[in-house]
C-alpha cells in the first residue's frame, strides 16, 4: 500500500495512544494515516492496566476484541512499602469490571489492527524524521523514510498527532522536552516461568491457576535504593513479568552489557524476601532481561498550531500506579475530540487546543503527584491538577487517595484535594 501525499491527520506511532487517536478520528470520518517505525507485534513494557481502560476501549469499539483475547484479569494491587502490606481491591472502590495484565505485544497489536479496521491507513516500518508545522490553518509537512533506508518522502496533512512514545519526536525537535533531573531512573525487567503469584486476599497461587484465581499486581519498595526504587510482579498467561525501577545513580559505573544487567537484576530479585519466595518455584527465562532508561520528563507544550502530543511523547512519569496506558488513551480521546472540533470550526482551533492541553496537563500533574515522593510544581500546573481531581468521580478519587497512602506518598495528593 502506498503512502498518500496528503491526508487530514498523520499519527506518528501506533502504540495505544496513536492507535486510539487514529480510531477515534477515523470514526469521526477523517482520513488518518498512522506511521510506525516498527512492525507489530512488537514487545514493550507496561503490562498492568487499571479498570479505567474499559471506558476508552468502549469508546473505541474495541472491547469485544480485548475480551476475546482472554488476557489475565486482575483483582487489585498488593503494595508492600517499608514492610507494611496494603491491599487495593478494585471491587472495594465500586469497580465492577476487572483490571488486566496484558502481554503488550498482543494488546497493542489488537488496538492498531482495530484502528485499521475503523478506516485508518496504517503503515509500519516507516520512520518519521522531521515535522514542519506553520501557523493555524497552514498545512503540516511530515517527512519520513522506510526504517533502515535513506529514501526520504513526505506527506502533507492538516494535523499531526505525535504519539511517538519516548522518542518524543516533536518535543525533541522543538527543544521543549524537560527532563525531571531529580527523577532519573531506569527500568530493568525480565520474565520468569512458573512463578507463584498473590491473589488480592494475600493467598499464594501457582502459575497454572492464573486464569482461574485473579492475581494482584504486587509491588514493593527496594529499601536500600533511596525512597523511590521499587519492584513489580505481574502474572501473565505464560510467564511472570518482574521489573525493577532503579535510580540511575544506583547503577553508576556498572558495565553497560547484558550480562551485567542480568546479574544485577537477579541479585536484586533474590534480595527482596517476599518476591524471592514467589519466584522460588519458577525459573528465570535466560536472556529475557531488558532495560529502558526512562527518565521522567515532560514536554513543555502539549499542542500548538497543527500539532498535538499524546502518550509518552507528551510526558513520562514513574509508572508505579499503572496509569501510563490509560493516560495515553485519555490523551488520544482528548486530542481526537479537539482535532475533530477544530476541523469543523477552524477559526476556534486555538480554543480547542487550549482545552486539550489544560485537561491533559492537569491529568499528568495528578499522576505525577501520585507517583513522586518529593514533589514540586508550578502554581498553574497545581491549579490544573486540582481542577482535574475535582472533576473526578468520588469512587476514582477514593482509589487515588488509597493508592497514595499505600506507597507512603499521601501528602502530594492530599494537597490537591485540599
Amino acid at each position: 500500500m502506498n503512502i498518500p501525499q496528503r491526508c487530514d491527520v498523520v499519527v506518528i506511532g501506533g502504540g495505544p495512544a496513536g492507535a486510539l487517536a487514529a480510531t477515534f478520528l477515523s470514526r469521526s470520518g477523517h482520513h488518518v494515516v498512522v506511521l510506525d517505525r516498527q512492525h507489530f507485534p512488537r514487545t514493550t513494557v507496561g503490562e498492568s492496566l487499571i479498570p479505567d481502560v474499559w471506558k476508552y476501549c468502549d469508546a473505541a469499539g474495541v472491547t469485544e476484541r480485548i475480551l476475546a483475547e482472554g488476557f489475565v484479569r486482575k483483582a487489585g494491587g498488593l503494595v508492600e512499602w517499608n514492610g507494611e502490606m496494603r491491599t487495593l481491591s478494585f471491587r472495594d472502590f465500586g469497580y465492577t469490571r476487572p483490571a488486566l495484565h496484558v502481554e503488550r505485544d498482543s494488546f497493542d497489536a489488537i488496538l492498531l489492527d482495530h484502528a485499521g479496521s475503523q478506516g485508518a491507513e496504517v503503515h509500519q516500518g516507516i520512520t518519521v524524521t522531521r515535522v514542519e508545522t506553520a501557523g493555524d490553518g497552514e498545512p503540516v509537512r511530515v517527512e519520513f523514510r522506510p526504517t533502515g533506508s535513506e529514501q526520504l518522502n513526505q506527506i502533507e496533512c492538516r494535523y499531526v498527532v505525535d504519539a511517538s512514545g519516548q522518542n518524543a519526536l516533536l518535543a525533541r525537535q522543538a527543544g521543549s522536552r524537560q527532563l525531571d533531573e531529580a527523577f532519573r531512573f531506569m527500568s530493568i525487567w525480565g520474565y520468569f516461568e512458573n512463578a507463584n503469584y498473590l491473589a488480592v486476599d494475600g493467598s499464594v497461587h501457582s502459575a497454572a491457576e492464573v486464569t482461574e484465581i485473579a492475581p494482584s499486581t504486587y509491588v514493593t519498595n527496594i529499601p536500600d535504593l533511596g525512597d523511590w526504587g521499587w519492584c513489580w510482579h505481574i502474572a501473565l498467561r505464560r510467564n511472570t513479568s518482574v521489573g525493577l525501577i532503579v535510580p540511575v545513580d544506583a547503577v553508576k559505573g556498572m558495565r553497560d552489557e547484558k550480562e551485567s544487567w542480568e546479574q544485577f537484576y537477579l541479585a536484586q530479585c533474590a534480595r527482596l524476601p517476599r518476591l524471592a519466595q514467589l519466584l522460588a518455584p519458577g525459573r528465570y527465562i535466560p536472556g529475557s532481561v531488558r532495560i529502558i532508561r526512562n527518565y521522567s520528563y515532560r514536554s513543555e507544550q502539549l499542542a500548538g498550531p497543527g500539532y498535538y502530543l499524546i502518550g509518552d511523547a507528551a510526558g513520562f512519569l514513574d509508572p508505579i500506579f499503572s496509569v501510563g496506558v490509560v493516560l495515553a488513551m485519555h490523551g488520544a480521546y482528548a486530542a481526537a475530540w479537539a482535532i475533530d472540533q477544530s476541523l469543523r470550526e477552524p477559526q476556534r482551533a486555538a480554543d480547542y487546543r487550549a482545552i486539550f492541553a489544560d485537561q491533559l496537563k492537569g491529568r499528568m500533574e495528578v499522576s505525577r503527584a501520585l507517583a513522586l515522593p518529593g514533589y514540586q510544581c508550578s502554581e498553574q500546573a497545581n491549579r490544573l491538577a486540582q481542577d482535574i481531581v475535582k472533576l473526578t468521580d468520588k469512587q476514582a478519587q477514593a482509589l487515588m487517595q488509597a493508592a497514595s497512602r499505600a506507597t507512603a506518598r499521601p501528602h502530594n495528593f492530599d494537597a490537591l484535594l485540599a
Binding site: 485519555h330 480521546y333 487550549a354 482545552i355 489544560d358 485537561q359 472533576l391 468521580d393 468520588k394
Partner: protein, 88 residues
C-alpha cells in the same frame, strides 16, 4: 426543569450515562461526583452545549463549578448567552 436543564438531562441520560435512565436528575444532582459525566463525557457535553445553545466554551471554563450539577450548567449557559449578546 427548564428549557436548558431539560435537554441537558436528556442528553446525559441517553448519550453519556445510560445507567442513569431511571434516575430523577434534580437540578442539584451531583453529576460529576456520581460519575454520570466522566472524563470522556465532559468533552462530549461541551460539544453538545455549544451546538445546542450556540455558545463558545473556553478552556478555563471547563471546571467543576460549571459542570457539577444541572443548575451549574444552566448558569454557565445563561451567562455565556448573555455575554455573547452583549458582544459587538
Amino acid at each position: 426543569m427548564t428549557a436548558i436543564t431539560d435537554p441537558v438531562a436528556d442528553y446525559i441520560r441517553t448519550e453519556l450515562a445510560p445507567q442513569s435512565q431511571g434516575l430523577e436528575l434534580t437540578p442539584d444532582y451531583p453529576l460529576i461526583q456520581a460519575g454520570l459525566v466522566d472524563s470522556l463525557g465532559l468533552f462530549r457535553l461541551v460539544t453538545f452545549l455549544q451546538d445546542r445553545f450556540g455558545i463558545k466554551i473556553r478552556a478555563q471554563e471547563i471546571v467543576f463549578d460549571h459542570f457539577a450539577t444541572l443548575a451549574a450548567i444552566e448558569a454557565l449557559v445563561v451567562a455565556k448567552q448573555q455575554s455573547s449578546e452583549e458582544a459587538p
